[in-house]
Assembly symmetry: none
Homo-oligomer: 205 residues x 4
DNA sequence: GATGAATGAGGGTTCATTCAT
DNA sequence: AATGAATGAACCCTCATTCAT
């Protein structure tokens, strides 16, 4: 619906790659179709054979970035680790995803254009945060049923945990105040988040 | 350094007011100097007499918005309330500021242009979040010295608290997914944050 | 010379039909080869297999429209009616043709592009007006020879008659100022033209 | 309403002159704003400071061409010449105007775009033909009142006369089939038209 | 010091045309 | 013989910036 599907998917992908570069770097308004065409190594006409307009190309970029990056953020939780360790793993994954280049970029660009493209903001939220929250809530509910946690409102607790995990990191990254990804810092923050979370929702044996 | 100081400050303020309207509404790239001039009721030439370029006008706008909005967010904490109640008040203030129109707008605009104007992102961080964190850290350290709290790393704990207070709210606002401001929701979130915070950093009498 | 004759005439006709629709509706510059291809249900490539360029396709369209529409305008004059009645029939036919959709369209399009395609203007004139004038002149000469009319310069008189028959109608149609075709108005105008013509070229018994 | 009147009329006129050249040569669709700017010796931006869009520039051009050319076509009729001679003068004037460069050009361009700009076609008709017909009708009515002519329907007779005066000339000019203006041909045609007109509407002493 | 008309590069988009399939 | 994706020049229009008044 966002693009003509009859055209070669390779060219489409090639264009989306170029668009990703440019949108990520310049934002929606700052990006120019000419630049995208140049970066993608296609002619401007080809851009318009594949995407009806700049807005639709942007939508397709956001869509694909969401699909590529955000869904699988919550893979592989069901292990035989204890609750604390699993929490830490989930937290670590989440933060790594949020601080990844693509994660930050898509967030930045979606927030910046949330007013102009509300449906994109919504799609982003559903594809990313909402899904992660739902999965985590489910996991919390299951552990609570097992008596390993005591969580009354699993969705809310999930959101609390994710918020805690961002401490000190996300805002600084979003503001571009930090360059390199500090593995150690993530570890510390997630450990503190886990501890705090369990202080409230853990069960004492 | 950002503007010619010999010119009348009234005109400068008038321009900044117009610029605030337009930048807030259209973002940096979407705003046009013509529109700003029109909204500010000055000629385009006057714009350029007061500000060297669009980028510098934008910088001045961000600077002034930071100054106007973010400093006083942390006023009036030192009261004779108990620790829990004071925490809740601080949290409420913080969230209200973050969800306010100007707060969201300046945040959105700074994040969107963080790559293009890194020094602005930094200025915003220092004027807003950094200051709030520092003040809160100081308050936490004082309470710890009094034996009313047990906080090892006050700055970090402050950031944790602020993160907890955003739960469920900020992201949805930033993404424009919510219209009206829910007083009750803020109350609930802040109460939960306070409880969780005290579960970890409180002292049991 | 205008097209490759080795290709299937059906496709050619199919294309010309589509081209007729689009050129009539949008004019030469306003028409797009893509739209013509779509309307004609062929690919753009096929367009260019049959016609070297947009200009040549346009030429072929004008040619075919002339051929289709203008030649038979002067059929069926030689009847046993008296001179006045025959004049009126000829006038009526002529006007109906000139006011017909195709007649107006081809005229409009040829006049509009007369400077860009002078040879088309000439072809149109020869295929349409010139032929009608010649036929009418011949008829006038014959009647003069019979003593039923007194026409010195038959070609000129023919042109006068055709001009008279347009009175009040053609210009308004060309300017799109009138929607429906007024049978009664045509009748009145042609009757007046016939009367005036006979006042000058008739013979009094 | 068609343009910003606050700007210098000279530049406006300069632009309209350039636009006249280009529109006359290339038609509406064929004309490009870049070319108009170049021919008018202004920048493209200036074009848009003076006229909101290509369509409005075109409208202004048609308006000014109508005003400049068509109004005064019917000046100086009230002389002491006899009816036949006056008719001939009127006819001559009319034909000369219709065959003039500007007359032909504006007609061509208005007819070509009559569908796209119906209000312009109407404005042209009212400014040109309608006015001429009304003036002539008035003159015919006056002569009829004096007993020098016997015209029942003056407006219709006026239109007949103007049609007759075009004989052989206008169509050929509109189609660009003739280059030079033949004074003698005009004389002949108008004389014939006058004769024919008086054969119907004259009074025999 | 303030103005706003003028500039021209660059914006998104369309389109006649080509050519590998 | 037919296709339609790719091309890139040219389209109309906007805009940050300048400068004569």
């Amino acid at each position: 619906m966002l693009a003509n599907d009859a055209l070669s998917p390779e060219k489409r992908a090639q264009i989306l790659d170029g668009a990703a570069d440019v949108f990520a770097h310049d934002g929606y308004e700052g990006a120019s179709m000419s630049r995208i065409a140049a970066v993608a190594n296609v002619s401007k006409g080809t851009l318009y054979n594949h995407f009806e307009s700049k807005a639709q190309l942007f939508a397709a970029y956001v869509e694909s970035a969401c699909a590529r990056n955000l869904c699988q953020a919550f893979a592989a939780t069901d292990e035989n680790l204890d609750v604390a360790e699993t929490l830490a793993r989930i937290g670590r994954r989440m933060v790594e995803m949020m601080l990844s280049d693509l994660g930050l970029t898509i967030y930045r660009v979606v927030v910046a254009e949330a007013k102009k493209f509300p449906e994109l903001a919504n799609a982003f939220y559903e594809a990313g945060p909402a899904r992660a929250i739902a999965q985590m809530a489910q996991w919390l509910a299951a552990r609570t049923a097992e008596g390993k946690l005591a969580v009354e409102d699993p969705a809310f607790a999930a959101e609390q945990f994710f918020c805690l995990c961002q401490t000190r990191l996300w805002l600084r990254y979003k503001l571009n105040l930090q360059e390199a990804a500090p593995e150690a810092a993530i570890e510390t923050v997630v450990a503190a988040a886990t501890r705090m979370f369990l202080n409230t929702y853990g069960v004492t044996p």
